[in-house]
Symmetry: C2
Subunit: 441 residues, 2 copies
Amino acid sequence: MSDLLIKNCDVFCCKDNKPDFLLSHDILVTGNRIQSILPTSESTTTPVKNRIDASGMLAVPGMVNTHAHVPMVLFRGVAEDVTLEEWFNQYIFPMESNLTPEDVFWGALLGMAEMIEAGITNVADHYFFMDEVAEAIKASGIRGNLAWAVFEHEGLEKFDETVEFVKRWQGRAEGRIKTWLGPHSPYLCGPEFLTRCAQLAEGLDVGIHIHVAETEDQVALSQKQYGMTPIRLLAQTGVLNRPSILAHCCFPTKEDIDIIADHPAGVGQAPKTYMRAGMGLGPLKAFQERDIPVGLASDGAASNSTLDLYEQMRLMALTQKFIENDARVMPLDKILKIAYAGGARVCQENDLGVLAPNKLADIVLLRQDRSAVIPRLNPAANLVYAINAVDVDTVICNGVVLMHNRQLLTIDKEKIKGEIESRLARLVKKVPGKVVAVYPT
Amino acid sequence: MSDLLIKNCDVFCCKDNKPDFLLSHDILVTGNRIQSILPTSESTTTPVKNRIDASGMLAVPGMVNTHAHVPMVLFRGVAEDVTLEEWFNQYIFPMESNLTPEDVFWGALLGMAEMIEAGITNVADHYFFMDEVAEAIKASGIRGNLAWAVFEHEGLEKFDETVEFVKRWQGRAEGRIKTWLGPHSPYLCGPEFLTRCAQLAEGLDVGIHIHVAETEDQVALSQKQYGMTPIRLLAQTGVLNRPSILAHCCFPTKEDIDIIADHPAGVGQAPKTYMRAGMGLGPLKAFQERDIPVGLASDGAASNSTLDLYEQMRLMALTQKFIENDARVMPLDKILKIAYAGGARVCQENDLGVLAPNKLADIVLLRQDRSAVIPRLNPAANLVYAINAVDVDTVICNGVVLMHNRQLLTIDKEKIKGEIESRLARLVKKVPGKVVAVYPT
């Protein structure tokens, strides 16, 4: 007997590498995989354990968030309208020094509630106290590619602890948890540290998730310190020989792009963060020309306000048209490919990012009943430019329903809210001299 | 007896010209005006006709949409990823030639449903068959500043008809309708036509709503045709002596900005349109330095996809930070001022755009229960960067409740949907040689 039948929805899928919208289809799920997608008229009449009436809704793949600091929802709104240097050194690094493992657990759970509400079912998270983030993944029901962020000044011993984390959680939670290594960035981890990281990752057979080339200043600093760009440093230290997520990577040189294209690396892009911080956008056109995997990323809520990839999708398309002064740039099929399949590709997940038989059953149902989504002359345009994360009605991950009719089924939001409110005053206090790191300028 | 008591909400208001957030207040409405805003603990115990429990919600002013083509929701999605010239000449102008007054009525009503759902209570609309738009305003319960768009090639007789429209509808629908004149633009209306328009507006004592300086090409064309910028042309023909809404105005010269500042004119800005069309942004910094009124605009849904000013607010802040490469640009207090009070100022409405005693009762209640709006460390940041139009729960215009618990009370959406679906095939057909105008290149 199959486990779940999603009745009578529209389905966003791919045909000849182009987005396609099937009308009135049923999706049958067995275990944690999609068994079939058939016209409702030809669909199964055999019994199933659970049925969802999805009339009028649009089924899309759960989105993959390629770079986040999920627990930072705790700091939503604390540092607004400030430079990147102030953001780090005056607000975030001091406040993060207040975090306990328990704070991180509640922050992670709130962030996962937010992501489920926004149709995200897999997140590449990069933070501290990752055992607690893993516990939150386990409890929430989504997937995580988890990397424990380490700064060089914490020493190699600290790094070895994160290796233990990798071993402890790899493949856990019904296979929903994957663990990688997470050196913070070339500006806070030097060549020796990165080399050691690459060796360990090889030994563990895992990937590496790292910030790189976020700003022009960082690239200049690397040139000054090491006589090479941060991307070249990652190549020389062996980091790029591992499957890698390059977070942001807004300022690669032309040569850097060649290097990335020759390695198993993908880029996570968060245009809302880049706009808010007055930074700059990644060279998406060049990435695409070299077929470098690109996915959407939320970054952390302290720099981004939200963990909303529908907004990021729209912003990525809008910003590309804007900077090129050309409405034809980043057309609907390209942006949809990045938003869904692209994210899965960055995280090296072959069974995610598309709705098709035998793929993992990470399925999101979007309502199409707001006036802003009427008429449906162009479903691709509606999906990119009119539908919002708030239209997410139902979320299924690994075959399990995590939200239905906008009600979270695995997470008690009121409990989280109370836990977080009781922690805020302590968390946002700046204790003189207490910081997790110093952003170099 | 007072008419409406909104119980126990947070209230966004202004204090010393800065945004302020009152917690746990009651708003009392008598007739179509706000009578008082008091702490819930000190509020009235006298009977009222209607009570709304707004616990946990945030009350904000209804937004003023300073430039729209509301019925164009009919064409949502028909022209994507195309240049501005193709957009006009290959899609919109041919398709608009299919419009009947009845089509416009149903399109207007759908657009008003969308605006109510998005917390907009007043719209400066610029379109054709404006009697039908006025009927839709009457039925929907929102306010409108309505201008009948006219091209010079339609002749002065056509323009005189729109003068009759102004007289027919001025002050109607319990005062919710205001009518202005609407010459399309200096690129489709020449000097004589504009001069006549200014004279008529003076005689009628009404304002003028016009597109101007949308692209660099338009400014170059005006220089070539008339030896002056389109803004100077508006000044010389007397248009700017009238209260004016300048739609878009993305490319004024420095001298143009001086001209605008010396006249009773304001600017409606729609950054989502500008990004999508690969155009350019207005010089907001210069407008603000000269204290030129600036408000948010949705433009039409065929260029913008949606009529969502919360998204436009966010995009305006993000784009300004982005183009200036500085996160400190367009801080929270400035963008909130544009979004609410600014829109009212552009439309020359002194009693809108702010929640305070004696102001008109255009009040929107926003839910704050999505995970993305938790915690509330910084309510201004949440309002700009995390809250969406979809969080609008309740909309009150002129003291009347138009939506409650996201249910529209004045508009039958299913009926509209059916009406529109039955018209689409005819509307999107391009009949060779049939156009409403030709966009000059």
